[in-house]
């Protein structure tokens, strides 16, 4: 449902992401999700008369980390501003934000393009602001919780460099992965710590001017981002095709009806009357801070992708899977460090590790055994001391029990039998009970070989080394 070829969509995204700090941006309340309503609040984040904000240093550090990674210019002096509007979840009637002088200016993020080649999506700015509380709507009334009020937020604004819903989603995935790699945000869309507003406009292909844009709010999953943008592109295209004019509006994504609709309540909210926040002097990074943060900034997905391609020659698909989450790649690399071949490490991480991690509601690091234990297991496979299937069984058990590899293999009796005499005995037993099938095989029905292998494995409860079983059977079945 993309725009018909006569029209082109132009999309810019505004992402709000909550920062992983212990306390709120301007007061000492906990920055924590999930408490009962109005528990993590104090006079400051409740906007009581006479209170004043005091800035959390950690917010500056995390923002600089993001800005450096996104190749932004870090402003030596930036200024807080008040953004004025009325809403029940906004306790002061204004939001402390940054306007004319944000902390980070410009920059770009590299996103894997459709052809696999990286594409630069330019950023306009990254600025700091405080989050509002939360309203919930009941039939009779609305209820307000200020636990989230004053949580530190980054607003990351892209240039209108995106041209399709798929591209927008790819940018968001990349940005989210980057923020998680940097340990700046948990990127949790369901809990609202990573939220997206999209500015969408459509223009005749080849036109240089931008059309009137629609701002779509409330996009809280990647799926909705794609659906809403596609819906909006189709809607605007239809308007233009019918000779109409698109109105500049704010729309809300209605997830149930899968459509966007204009917002009614904020009709007066367009004049935010920004002015410099008099309660906070300008923000100046202490000397040396930017360089210190630059020295400590962890690797980001684009760099890691390049390294995996260069050092391990992995497929584009494998690289994609291994780099989406930082912990997955970290685990993969820990296996290699523990002596596992990178092919085996990649395969195991992509299948068993991700399966176990996805099945668990724990973070990856707690859902699966330490890399050293997994490496031990994989070396047993390499040495033919257990089968690949045995290793999978052991791994699943280790995820549950937390036991080490050796103990698990022995407790489950997974050690592989490679002793020829013992295997020959099992083969003899099978062949002596299946005399009809043996005759058929010798008469030329060679497909039955697999049947014999299966019976031997069953007799040995799967512990026989399949390679040895093959050799012994071949010899015994020879005419």
């Amino acid at each position: 449902m993309a725009a018909s070829s006569a029209y082109e969509a132009v999309i810019g995204l505004e992402v709000h992401t909550q920062l992983l700090t212990r306390s709120k941006i301007f007061c000492g309340c906990a920055n924590a999700f999930g408490a009962p309503p109005n528990h993590h609040v104090c006079p400051v984040c409740m906007g009581m008369p006479g209170v004043l904000p005091v800035f959390n240093r950690r917010v500056l550090e995390l923002t600089i980390r993001v800005g450096l990674t996104a190749h932004s210019q870090i402003a030596e002096r930036s200024v807080f501003a008040r953004k004025n509007y009325f809403y029940p979840d906004l306790p002061k009637g204004y939001q402390i934000s940054q306007y004319e002088r944000p902390l980070c200016v410009g920059g770009y993020i590299e996103v894997p393009g459709a052809d696999g080649a990286p594409r630069k999506i330019r950023l306009t700015r990254i600025h700091i602001e405080e989050d509002a509380g939360k309203n919930i709507h009941r039939p009779e009334a609305s209820l307000v919780d200020f636990n989230r009020s004053g949580a530190p937020l980054l607003e990351i604004v892209s240039e209108p460099d995106l041209h399709s819903a798929e591209e927008a989603a790819a940018y968001l995935r990349e940005l989210r992965a980057m923020l998680r790699y940097l340990e700046v945000s948990d990127g949790n869309m369901e809990e609202g710590s990573f939220r997206c507003d999209a500015n969408v406009s459509v223009r005749p292909r080849g036109a240089s001017e931008l059309g009137a844009k629609t701002e779509i709010k409330n996009l809280n999953s990647f799926k909705f981002v794609e659906k809403a943008i596609n819906h909006e592109i189709a809607r605007q295209t239809a308007v233009l095709q019918a000779g109409g004019k698109v109105e500049q509006q704010t729309h809300l994504w209605d997830a149930e009806r899968e459509e966007t609709r204009p917002m009614r309540s904020k009709e007066y909210a367009h004049d935010y009357r920004y002015f410099p926040e008099p309660d906070l002097p300008e923000l100046q990074a202490p000397p040396g801070l930017v360089e210190a943060i630059r020295a400590q900034t962890p690797e980001v997905p684009s760099a890691r992708r390049a390294r995996y391609a260069r050092d391990f020659g992995l497929s584009a698909y494998a690289i994609e899977v291994l780099t989406q989450e930082r912990e997955v790649g970290d685990y993969f690399e820990a296996l290699i460090k523990a002596g596992v071949h990178h092919k085996a490490a990649a395969n195991w991480t992509m299948s068993e590790v991700l399966r176990a991690a996805n099945a668990s509601d724990q973070p990856l690091i707690r859902a699966i055994p330490a890399a050293a234990q997994t490496a031990t297991l994989l070396k047993l496979v390499e040495q033919n001391r257990i089968s690949l299937n045995g290793a999978k069984t052991a791994f699943a058990a280790m995820c549950k029990s937390g036991q080490d590899a050796a103990a698990t293999v022995s407790a489950l009796g997974l050690a592989q039998v490679s002793d020829e005499a013992a295997i020959a005995e099992a083969c003899d037993l099978v062949l002596s009970t299946e005399t009809d099938k043996v005759a058929e095989y010798r008469a030329g029905h060679e497909k039955l070989f697999g049947f014999f292998v299966g019976r031997v494995m069953k007799t040995t409860q799967g512990k026989a080394n399949p390679k040895v079983v093959n050799e012994v059977l071949k010899r015994k079945l020879a005419p």
Partner: protein, 486 residues
């Protein structure tokens, strides 16, 4: 003497309490009785906290027994703009009529720590917006020198209470003259410190880049004592200075020889009451006699200060007062939907002057007008600051009248907001520049009404201002007159 303990100054009471000549409870009781006696005439207090004050006083007496802090047992009135934990804080507004803060303003906490006793909360213009205390939602305060006249504002309750000996000192706030002008009109001493010298945490905000906290006292020495207790860094106020706080009282040595006093020519022109002019000039003569050098200076942009102030202050106020929405605390009007809730709560909760200023400030910031009004005012603010910087190259302090007139009659200016605004013409530029300034009595007019003199200093020049004021107080030809009407 015991029956008139309320007449004491802080420094007199301090010494006597330490000598155990009387107890803090006795002193507090004397003030509370004085309050009962004069309040029916003055209406300086919005809340009188009799039992709480006596409990504080009893605690102060226990502390006095073993080496007490500076203000131990001293009854100090608190303008109702300061958050007081567990005690109603109304800002003289219907919208906060029943608001009880769960926290103390930093200066209130400091005074508590220093052993002060709080007899109650003082009347003011609603949200500190006014120059006469007529904008209080709970009725005007009267001037103790003439009950038909205003005490000035917005800290009118503070000035009247100190002048009428209801408390030994009071806390006020000054955004455009709100400590100095009522101090002048009520014949007491009031100081607006350098912006950032005293914490604003817990002070209901009017205009955040202009508001400052300061004391109103009976003498200059008492202001020095109060300043030491109030000033200093506060981790809860990001705009509060970390500079060390000097011992202001120790610097009151009467020595002003060779001190250069600048007199701005722009401040002695049209519309000023002649008796104010002559009283200030007489005071300047006394300073000269003490060895100071008096010379003319110029503050060429001061004529633009009122216009500049009313854009900047109202713009900031329009945001500061947005929190009064009926959601979390304060008045809530009956409403069926959210839009009604906001519009009606604020219509019922705010008085006419507050609405006028919210409207002006909202307009000055609104799309299409920001550059022509708010931003322009900020540029003029730069010029006003530069005027003072240049002036302080040539002098150590500046002396002016505090207000062009003595106390005016109730109702005289209420119908003309602009005339009311112009009564702050000599005080406003000081706030725009963030400088310290003090007002003190320098004589009386033909009706026996006090005349105020303003001393302006460079940033963090509270010490030199207090020294000059103290010298002037020492050389005063006649003692302070008690208010006739109470």
């Amino acid at each position: 003497m015991n029956n008139e303990l309320f007449r004491l100054t802080i420094s007199q009471a301090q010494a006597a309490l330490r000598r155990r000549e009387f107890s803090a409870v006795e002193l507090t009781r004397a003030c509370l009785e004085r309050i009962s006696a004069v309040e029916p005439k003055l209406n300086a207090f919005l809340t009188v906290a009799e039992s709480e004050a006596l409990i504080q006083a009893a605690a102060a007496d226990r502390r006095l027994a073993n080496g007490a802090p500076a203000l131990c047992g001293i009854p100090i009135g608190i303008k109702d703009i300061f958050a007081t934990r567990g005690m109603r804080t109304t800002c003289a507004s219907r919208i906060l009529e029943n608001f009880v803060p769960p926290f103390d303003a930093t200066v209130v906490a400091r005074l508590r720590e220093a052993g002060a006793v709080f007899p109650g909360k003082l009347n003011m213009d609603e949200f500190a917006m006014g120059s006469s205390t007529e904008n209080s939602a709970f009725g005007p305060t009267r001037n103790p020198y003439d009950l038909a006249r205003v005490p000035g504002g917005s800290s009118g309750g503070s000035a009247a209470a100190v002048a009428a000996d209801e408390c030994l000192a009071a806390l006020g706030t000054d955004t455009g003259g709100s400590i100095r002008q009522p101090a002048a009109l009520c014949g007491v001493v009031g100081i607006k410190p350098t912006y950032s010298r005293v914490s604003r945490y817990g002070v209901v905000a009017f205009a955040s880049s202009l508001d400052q906290v300061g004391p109103l006292t009976k003498t200059v020495r008492d202001s020095a004592i109060m300043m030491r207790a109030l000033a200093g860094v506060d981790p809860r106020d990001s705009t509060c200075s970390a500079r060390p706080v000097p011992d202001y009282e120790a610097a009151l040595n009467g020595e002003i020889k060779n001190l250069r006093i600048g007199v701005p020519k722009e401040f002695f022109v049209e519309g000023m009451q002649p008796v104010v002019d002559s009283a200030v000039r007489a005071a300047l003569k006394r300073l000269e006699a003490d060895g100071a050098a008096v010379g003319e200076i110029s503050l060429p942009h001061s004529q633009y200060a009122v216009a500049t102030y009313y854009l900047i202050a109202t713009a900031e106020a329009s945001a500061n007062l947005a929190r009064y929405d009926g959601v979390r605390y304060g008045l809530r009007a009956e409403a069926d939907d959210l839009s009604e809730l906001y519009g009606r709560t604020r219509a019922q909760g705010f008085g006419p002057e507050v609405k006028r200023r919210i409207m002006l400030g909202t307009f000055a910031l609104s799309s299409g007008y920001y550059d022509a009004y708010y931003l322009k005012a900020q540029r003029v603010r730069t010029l006003i600051r530069r005027d003072f910087e240049a002036a302080f190259g040539a002098c150590d302090v500046i002396v002016t009248p505090t207000s062009p007139t003595t106390a005016f009659r109730l109702g005289e200016k209420t119908q003309d907001p602009l005339q009311m605004y112009l009564s702050d013409i000599f005080t406003i530029s000081v706030n725009l520049a963030g400088l310290p300034a003090l007002s003190m009595p320098c004589g009386y007019d033909g009706n026996g009404l006090p005349i105020g003199l303003q001393i302006i200093g460079p940033a963090f020049g509270e010490g030199v201002i207090l020294r000059v004021a103290d010298a002037l107080e020492r050389s005063a030809p006649v003692p302070r007159r008690r208010p006739a009407a109470v």
